[in-house]
Amino acid sequence: MSRLTRFSLSVAVVVLCATAAADEFGDPAAGERVYRQCKSCHLVGAGATHRIGPHLNGIFGRQAASYDDFRYSKALMRAGAGGLEWHAETLDTFLENPRAMASGTRMSFKGLKDAKDRLDVIAYIRTFSDNPADIPEADPTATATDHDLDPAILALEGDPDYGEYLSGDCTTCHQTGGGDDGIPSIVLWPEEDFVIAMHAYKNKDRLNPVMQMMAGRLNAEEIAALAAYFATLEN
């Protein structure tokens, strides 16, 4: 498809989706145009290196301020040490107003106020997160907030021992070491994200048929047990 066709299609999408919800995908082609505002500081793509800001290849799932060869602001290093990771959700918040998220950040950018622009630019950057870019379950669909789960389900305390046994069903495909060649990593997720994702498969809101099947037979306690186990797994 030519750039021009994609562009006109994406215009149509904008019109149709004026009230874009958080669970929608951005348009990488439109995002490439938005990215012009970023590229004087951040390189992305083959051969990208750190410039004023760090390069953005493979950013999804990476801890904030985690390149040894880039000098970050203390604010961002504190955020990274505190557990901030770059996912669609966190990037969205950061891009809306970088200083609101990390008040001392050296990123002197006022932010992208338009939600659609943020979705698009995140989708564009995501095309440079080579693996697992093609996996529908990976970032940025693994958002934490787009759910209507009963708070009682989220409040369930899982039994990690039971989770360890049940995890045998997961580890046939998902590596406990966290590798993700073709199938996403599920270790060290926040328990809540894990529970939300599994219930989304169980309710068939997420599409992978293997996962719908595997989650489909787990009850809420079993899902909580798995979340508790994988959240703490060290390997």
Partner: protein
């Protein structure tokens, strides 16, 4: 150290009083588990028992080969998508994980003395024995073929040298030559396997020998993922594959490995390569242990223990368990249920209810992957299917590509899960 250990034993003895039946022999050292066969079932069971018991159980794996070639993905090697070394694995990870790996043949089981005899001499004692020997072939199931003909007409249904032989023969086929397959009757290892193989051979020939033909003589009228394979054969390999099902005499077949002919329903065909996949039965050690009934070893669904002997479990292809297909994924799933039950019986650890699952991915052409899967539960009489899915015909190329990529992830996942 010794003080800690004594305390530890004391604690586990207390647990024994509180929990379900324990077979740990009084006065003995650590309970002993012997696993025969280092494939998807045996390797997984050995690794999980050693890992989860944290040294409390002595685990020995008896496996004759030093390098294990996975049957799953061996068709991708035939198709040129993998090198042989991509599907070869050693047992170092299991040894490092605390499993005593013995490279020898198990040649007999003394169920009274509870020992396994080794070809190299000596016997290994066990409290619980797990047999996961895979398959052997039923003698005389394909007229004209026996194991002495496996060089002229390879089965390539135990991966490794046989896979390499079949690949070499495929590469040496004359231009416009004929590749024949004799497909097996049910039940057999990897239900979509022969048809994925046909696809991969066709892929190879399309690239290298496009006027070559493939004939499949099949004793069945239908097979796993049939609609998906036939759709793919039509779209990728039109006119190349002639599948002859039982309706058209595909079950009435004989071969002559000296003359390199295949006779299907009375019609003799000269062939250049002939892949004979005979009827299958449980690996011989299951029969030697006296736990088979007919060709397979009947087991209880809850813990994979045999109906013949509660201290002998049979996993994977060799077992007769109910609804699960004979696959590496199934064996891996059964192994975890079995490992949990065996560890519980030996150490008093908690035993959770059995849950099983299987998914089989198949590759039809480059980036054209399909899958079928199901979940299962243990009932009184068998492992019973709960729920399942299958890829649909007419899926987009994006979906098929994603399915193939998923299968690559699964391969890394399961081999890591089995072997550490």
């Amino acid at each position: 150290m010794s003080l800690n250990r004594r305390k530890f034993i004391g604690a586990s003895a207390a647990a024994a009083v509180l929990s379900a039946p324990m077979v740990k022999a009084a006065g003995a050292g650590k309970p002993r588990v012997v696993v025969v066969g280092g494939g998807a079932g045996g390797a997984t069971a050995a690794r999980y028992i050693a890992k989860d018991s944290k040294g409390e159980v002595n685990v020995t794996l008896i496996e004759p080969t030093r390098k294990y070639y996975t049957c799953f993905f061996s068709n991708l090697y035939l198709g040129g998508f993998k090198e042989i070394e991509d599907i070869g694995h050693t047992y170092g990870g299991l040894a490092a994980g605390g499993v005593n790996v013995v490279h020898d043949w198990a040649i007999g089981v003394d169920r009274d003395a509870k020992t396994v005899a080794l070809a190299g001499g000596g016997a290994v004692p066990y409290d619980k024995l797990i047999l996961s020997p895979g398959i052997d072939f039923v003698e005389g199931s394909v007229a004209g073929w026996d194991l002495s003909a496996q060089n002229a007409m390879p089965h390539a249904y135990k991966a490794g040298s046989q896979s390499e032989l079949l690949k070499a023969q495929l590469m040496a086929m004359p231009e416009g030559g004929t590749f024949a397959m004799v497909a097996p009757p049910n039940p057999y290892r990897c239900p979509p396997g022969p048809y994925e193989r046909v696809s991969m051979v066709a892929h190879f020939l399309k690239q290298n020998n496009p006027t070559a033909k493939i004939i499949v003589a099949d004793p069945k009228e239908k097979f796993s993922k049939m609609a998906l394979f036939q759709e793919g054969w039509n779209s990728h390999y039109a006119g190349m594959i002639d599948w002859i099902g039982d309706d058209f005499g595909g079950g009435n077949v004989s071969v002559d490995p000296d003359a390199m002919t295949v006779t299907i329903d009375g019609e003799v065909t000269n062939v250049d390569v002939c892949n004979v996949i005979p009827a299958m039965k449980a690996g011989r050690i299951a029969e030697l242990a006296g736990v088979t009934d007919g060709n397979w070893a009947p087991v209880h669904a809850a813990d994979m223990s045999t109906k013949a002997d509660p201290d002998i479990h049979v996993l994977g292809d060799a077992s007769q368990q109910g609804d699960m297909p004979k696959s590496g994924y199934s064996a891996n799933s059964q192994a975890k249920v079995c490992a949990n039950a065996v560890r519980g019986a030996l150490t008093g650890s908690k035993v959770f209810p059995a849950k099983f699952a299987n998914t089989c991915w198949s590759l039809i052409a480059a980036n054209d992957g399909v899958k079928v899967g199901a979940t299962y539960e243990a009932t009184e009489e068998k492992i019973a299917k709960v729920d399942g899915f299958i890829s649909e015909t007419g899926e987009t190329s994006d979906v098929r590509k994603a399915t193939y990529e998923e299968s690559e992830g699964w391969y890394t996942g399961i081999t890591t899960d089995m072997l550490g």
